[in-house]
């Protein structure tokens, strides 16, 4: 980009009209707050998703979705191919980070009341995005065909089957038979690398379109953003790439110093293996532990489903136009109670599965 163009842009003035592809590419404008020092969770999610796609693609070149060789192919990729450990580590830490960033993104949107009309479609598309992530993790977890993935999947099947009416059917569809085997692995693989990414891209496109239409949530005091918009190219892209680079370096460093775990190969006959729930499902696992027998469905479906419905219905439940937290004490207090409950359940689950000596 020419220097006068940048100068004009920095001064907040419209550059002179240009022709051609460059002009077309540089025409779209983004609010400066889309990605800036104090607001970047949304774009960081985009960067993490890009890293997940890229690292996943590289892993797919070596992966074989067959129980007898899946583990070996992952082992080979991680330990025998150059940078295999880094690539798999980036993939592993990217989804863990993505969950955390999504949580923070959701929390911020909640606190600043970004779900309120007219931006409620953006909120709803974001929730869809949130719901999709566990499916990625659940399907991806089985792919290395290690003990953790195999037995975690068994536990998940057991939880899913507790859903009245649909549970057994869903398990049958996912497992593809009476036992978790080659058909299950193939289905999970197809879901993980084809179907779910396609759905993700669709939801992402929807979220971004709605965002473009309704805009970012403005400052709570109602004043217009102080900074002028930036062109998508190159300023917006540069900021994104900077964030992508930073995330990639951080995740690669994490992968280098703490390689992604790969447990023992799955042994379906080893019933002594007790999988520990991962951090993001500790509270759900604890809920399932509390509600036993005929009440399992309360912990496995009613409460989590109810929470999702509450989040989805939030724009209609909290109708006050005021977005300032000080004027939404009731909603925030209710959210705080839920957050505390999730934290307490997670801590209980952590103690039960990671601290107690029998584990």
């Amino acid at each position: 980009m020419s220097e006068p163009y940048v100068m004009l842009e920095e001064e907040g003035r419209t550059p002179p009209p240009q022709d051609g592809l460059l002009c077309w590419l540089t025409r779209p404008r983004l609010p400066s707050e889309t990605v800036c020092w104090h607001r970047f969770f949304g774009v960081l999610q985009l960067a993490l998703i890009a890293l997940l796609f890229l690292s996943g693609l590289l892993m797919a070149f070596s992966y074989t979705p067959v129980p007898g060789t899946a583990y070996d192919s992952v082992d080979y990729f991680q330990f025998s191919l150059p940078f295999g450990d880094i690539v798999r580590g980036v993939h592993h830490y990217a989804w863990n980070s993505l969950l955390i960033v999504m949580g923070l993104h959701l929390l911020r949107a909640f606190v600043v009341g970004a779900y309120k009309p007219p931006r409620h479609p953006v909120w709803l598309s974001g929730l869809l995005f949130l719901l999709l992530m566990p499916l990625f993790i659940i399907t991806g977890d089985l792919l290395p065909w290690d003990q953790k993935g195999y037995w975690s999947t068994q536990v998940r099947f057991s939880i899913i089957s507790s859903i009245p009416g649909l549970g057994d059917f869903m398990v049958q569809m996912l497992r593809g038979g009476g036992l978790t085997g080659i058909v299950t692995l193939t289905r999970f693989y197809v879901l993980h690398v084809l179907l779910l990414p396609a759905v993700l891209l669709g939801i992402l496109a929807l979220h971004l379109c709605l965002l473009a239409r309704h805009g970012l949530s403005p400052p709570m005091d109602g004043q217009a953003p102080a900074r002028p918009p930036i062109p998508l190219l190159p300023s917006g892209l540069n900021r994104f790439l900077l964030l992508l680079l930073a995330a990639m370096i951080a995740l690669a460093a994490a992968a280098y110093f703490h390689p992604a775990p790969l447990g023992d190969p799955a042994d379906p006959s080893d019933t002594s293996f007790v999988p520990r729930p991962e951090w993001w499902v500790l509270f759900l696992n604890q809920l399932v532990s509390i509600f036993k027998g005929p009440f399992t469905v309360v912990g496995s479906a009613v409460i989590p489903g109810g929470l999702i419905l509450l989040l989805a219905a939030l724009p209609w439940l909290d109708r006050s136009p005021d977005r300032r937290p000080s004027r939404r004490i009731g909603v925030l207090a209710a959210a705080l109670v839920v957050l505390i409950a999730i934290t307490v359940l997670s801590v209980m689950g952590y103690i039960e599965h990671f601290v107690r000596p029998e584990h």
Binding site: D75, Y93, N96, G263, D264
Partner: protein, 328 residues
């Protein structure tokens, strides 16, 4: 720095560490892990001060056959350097057993003595052995009679792709020569065991005449007997005159052969004292031989152990499968 900026930076700083903290190994089986600790300097021997600083792992063993319903344990430690890995073991054993059928002369004739030897064996995966990670030696060595990979005391893996690295320390047959037999395990066939010896030279040489009535070799003049009074093959000379022996003399029946090549990769230093064995085994992390497991400190390895107390192959104490990990 503005409040918003501080909050944002703090949030970012929390993301990756939190992911690291919570996304570690979440396997939940009660499998023991032996951690090999990195050291710049190799342990000089059994009493190197480095061993005292390392956390020990007490590995339980359960008896089989004549040791059925008996239990014992082996204290285990491991150190690795840039080039080699060192294992340190100690276990209680009230009797030093190194007889291994040694010949005894009564003035008239030679008789093989009753008595076997103490042994410790380790089995690692060279390539993945199906279900070894969870069932250990129960799928390779100590398999039930009639299993597809065992017959008449012979055993092995179920396919050629599954290979194991077998380290076999023998108090009478390898230790006096300073090594543990290095073998490997491959597919069992009905007429051939899956156990193979590594390339090179080693093992023991039988000391008996063709009619199996007496020893064939004795200590060569000018040579000294090895550890525990064991005659090494390289120090032996053919017996030409029995009159040099007096009643009560004992001659080794299985003479350790000095190892060469891949056979002798696993060096051994041991001591039996105060009713306990202490043993150090060491080997290059990567020998470059296809019949050896190549240790990559980034990986974890499954291995299992068996202990033989003056007993044959069938009578042993076996450990569950363990995980070997490396920590810098």
């Amino acid at each position: 720095m503005s409040c918003r900026l501080r909050l944002a930076v703090l949030s970012l700083l929390l993301v990756v560490p939190a992911a690291l903290l919570f996304s570690g190994d979440v396997t939940g089986a009660a499998k023991q892990t032996l951690t090999a600790v990195y050291s710049k300097t190799a342990p000089a021997g059994l009493d190197d001060p480095q061993w005292a600083k390392i956390k020990a792992l007490e590995v339980p063993f359960e008896g089989k056959e004549k040791f059925a319903n008996k239990k014992t344990s082996v204290i285990t430690k491991a150190i690795y350097t840039d080039e080699e890995i060192y294992f340190w073991f100690t276990w209680k054993d009230a009797t030093l057993s190194v007889t291994k059928g040694a010949w005894k002369f009564d003035g008239q004739k030679w008789t093989p003595q009753a008595g076997d030897e103490d042994r410790l064996s380790l089995l690692f995966e060279i390539s993945r052995i199906n279900n070894f990670a969870t069932k250990g030696c129960a799928v390779t060595c100590h398999v039930p009679q009639g299993a597809p990979n065992a017959k008449d005391g012979k055993f092995g893996t179920q396919s050629e792709a599954e290979k194991g690295d077998l380290w076999h320390w023998k108090a009478a047959r390898s230790d006096p020569a300073g090594y543990a037999d290095d073998g490997w395990l491959t597919k069992f066939s009905a007429d051939k065991t899956g156990r193979r010896t590594d390339a090179g030279k080693g093992g023991d040489k039988r000391n008996m005449t063709e009619d199996k009535s007496k020893p064939r070799y004795m200590l060569a003049p000018g040579k000294k007997l090895g550890k525990h009074g064991i005659l090494l093959a390289e120090d032996a000379v053919e017996i030409t005159d029995d009159s040099v022996f007096k009643p009560g003399d004992v001659v080794t029946a299985r003479m350790p052969v000095k190892a060469e090549g891949s056979y002798g990769d696993v060096k051994a230093v041991s001591r039996w004292a105060d009713g306990a064995w202490t043993l150090m085994l060491s080997r290059k992390l990567n020998t470059g031989y296809e019949d050896d497991v190549a240790f990559d400190p980034r990986k974890k390895y499954n291995f299992a152990m068996a202990l033989f107390d003056d007993s044959g192959d069938a009578d042993s104490y076996d450990s569950e499968t363990l995980t070997l990990e490396f920590k810098k």
